[in-house]
Symmetry: C2
Subunit: 336 residues, 2 copies
């Protein structure tokens, strides 16, 4: 049978009320009494009924992270960073994979139904801005991640993807490349990742005085290695193949590198490759992958801090936008 509060009280020689006061960290308890109760708790391996405590303080100390796809290395690494950032604050993260499905995203916007969570970090794919703005019914604090969701009513955390894509493309220009392709321009619809990063890519070409060739922009069907490999094959079949490729995430770039290896082409001599995300795989790949590295630990830490402010009802009242710092990590796939 589980140890009860009264067992602890008997062992410590104090009242049940006193044990409860120690557990709930009330003031005006002498160090001596506290020590006695804590010793009894340790001796009996007593675990307070946390859900009852949560109800009293109105919090569960759980938050949810809703991401489109956890097998995608970027989101897996981000999920791990959120777990660590929350744990440092005594909070547990539960992760839900939406696969970008409307029903799953709606459930998140509705506050994850009856789950005992204090707040939600949400990276939406298919939910429209209007739907997101309308979703205030659950009353649970929500912080949004990613490019899609600027301009709404929620707090929002994202990388400046236009600028980052501009920097990645400009790096290829600076290496003397003139036919720079882009893979992944179709991701996430009109306001999604693909469209936003394409804007930065085109801006950089224009700034460099390079022509814009639509044949060099590949949408692909997804953001996985498979899609990168297929898009790269299509590029190599062009009458005039590219001498550089900017892939809108690292998985696409790793797929493209596989196609280039199969074709017997040298990277970066024949084709230079840049990715986006700085997943671990790209750092260990041969050749290692040049990429945009957003600071995932910063992102997770700041987002959790912001969400906890909202949960506590503190902090500035106005909606906040946080921009995640990033660097361009130059590695073998462009620097040889």
């Amino acid at each position: 049978m589980a140890t009860r509060l009264s067992d602890v009280a008997a062992r410590a020689g104090v009242s049940v009320k006193t044990v409860s006061n120690v557990i709930n960290d009330y003031p005006h308890i002498t160090a001596h009494t506290r020590a006695k109760v804590e010793a009894a708790i340790a001796d009996l391996d007593y675990r307070p009924n946390v859900s009852a405590r949560s109800l009293r303080k109105g919090r569960s100390d759980f938050i949810a992270l809703a991401i489109p796809e956890m097998a995608s290395a970027y989101f897996a690494e981000l999920g791990a960073a959120f777990s660590r950032a929350a744990k440092r604050r005594g909070i547990t993260v539960l992760i839900e994979q939406t696969e970008g499905e409307p029903a799953a995203e709606q459930m998140v916007l509705d506050g994850m139904r009856g789950q005992l969570i204090d707040g939600i970090v949400f990276s939406p794919i298919t939910s429209s801005q209007a739907k997101i703005s309308a979703a205030v019914g659950s009353g649970k604090p929500i912080v949004l991640l990613g490019e899609r969701t600027t301009g709404g009513t929620f707090d929002h955390v994202a990388v400046d993807s236009v600028q980052a894509a501009y920097d990645a493309t400009t790096h290829l220009v600076s290496l003397g490349r003139r036919r720079i392709a882009a893979i992944g321009v179709g991701g996430g619809g009109a306001s999604g990742t693909g469209a936003v990063r394409r804007r930065g890519y085109r801006k950089a070409l224009k700034a460099a005085g390079l022509p814009h060739d639509p044949a060099l922009e590949l949408a692909g069907t997804g953001y996985h290695r498979l899609d990168g490999a297929a898009s790269m094959r299509a590029l190599l079949e062009l009458p005039e193949p590219p001498d550089a490729v900017f892939c809108f995430n690292d998985l696409l770039a790793l797929g493209a590198l596989r196609t280039l290896a199969d074709a017997g082409l040298s990277v970066p001599d024949d084709v230079a490759v840049v990715g986006f995300d700085d997943i671990e795989d790209g750092r260990y790949h041969s050749p290692s992958l040049t990429t945009i590295s957003a600071d995932k630990d910063w992102l997770a830490d700041q987002t959790v801090a912001l969400l906890l402010e909202r949960i506590a009802g503190s902090g500035e009242a106005a909606r906040r936008n946080l921009t995640v710092p990033y660097t361009l990590e130059i590695r073998e796939s462009t620097a040889g």
Copy 2:
């Protein structure tokens, strides 16, 4: 303001009780009445209070998956497979990363505190068999994953790691390799992954009449690319380096491949490499990675089915052990 049951009733011209009966799928409701209520629900975009419904039927239709590390590609892919398997049955999976920490694992064994989940799939790292067996307090069904947990009181799903390691090693023997190293023998303590897979490795060497050289068994400090790269460097410094390496997961193997590339060695001519897990990264790597491929979709599907049987209180009463099918996938890192 949110639409209420009474709004739906007014719109449909029926009683609140009738609306409730339709929502809860009670019998004896005419098709005409049902259609009227469903039209009103659609018109008003009414969403039933699911947590109240869950309490009535005693279920939340959420399950938890507790894994050590979600940034590790195997667990990320496994988590995605669980999400899909559960979704096919109308269930949502919430994933918790324990990092193998005792406090986090204890929380899982205690039933995830007050979370409204129906059951738990748990891949433990540090919890002892005794602790796991003692953890029946929450009454929530638990299914365990992985090598560590055989012989306990819970349902259990795992690959036959001894046999799989035997097969991987025997494959290297069949290629004429005679100095076959093992990386990852230290993972998970006395009954963990490292010890179990080492048993299969040693058994295969013995069956082939090859000597057992302790210098060829590397424990490393973890199961990541970094550890594989460091262990491979140590092996290359031996007076007599190996001509093949069996790495106890794919991340170790990918790290080892990077070290071999840096050393200018050819794979598989100089050193053949086998991994374990069949993560996507290994399939796209150059060279592609020979590996043990456990069927993650089978694992997720069967585990979810078993857990749902337990939640429903149906199925065989006796504790069940499921063994996950696997294949040896022969690719460029051994076949050239």
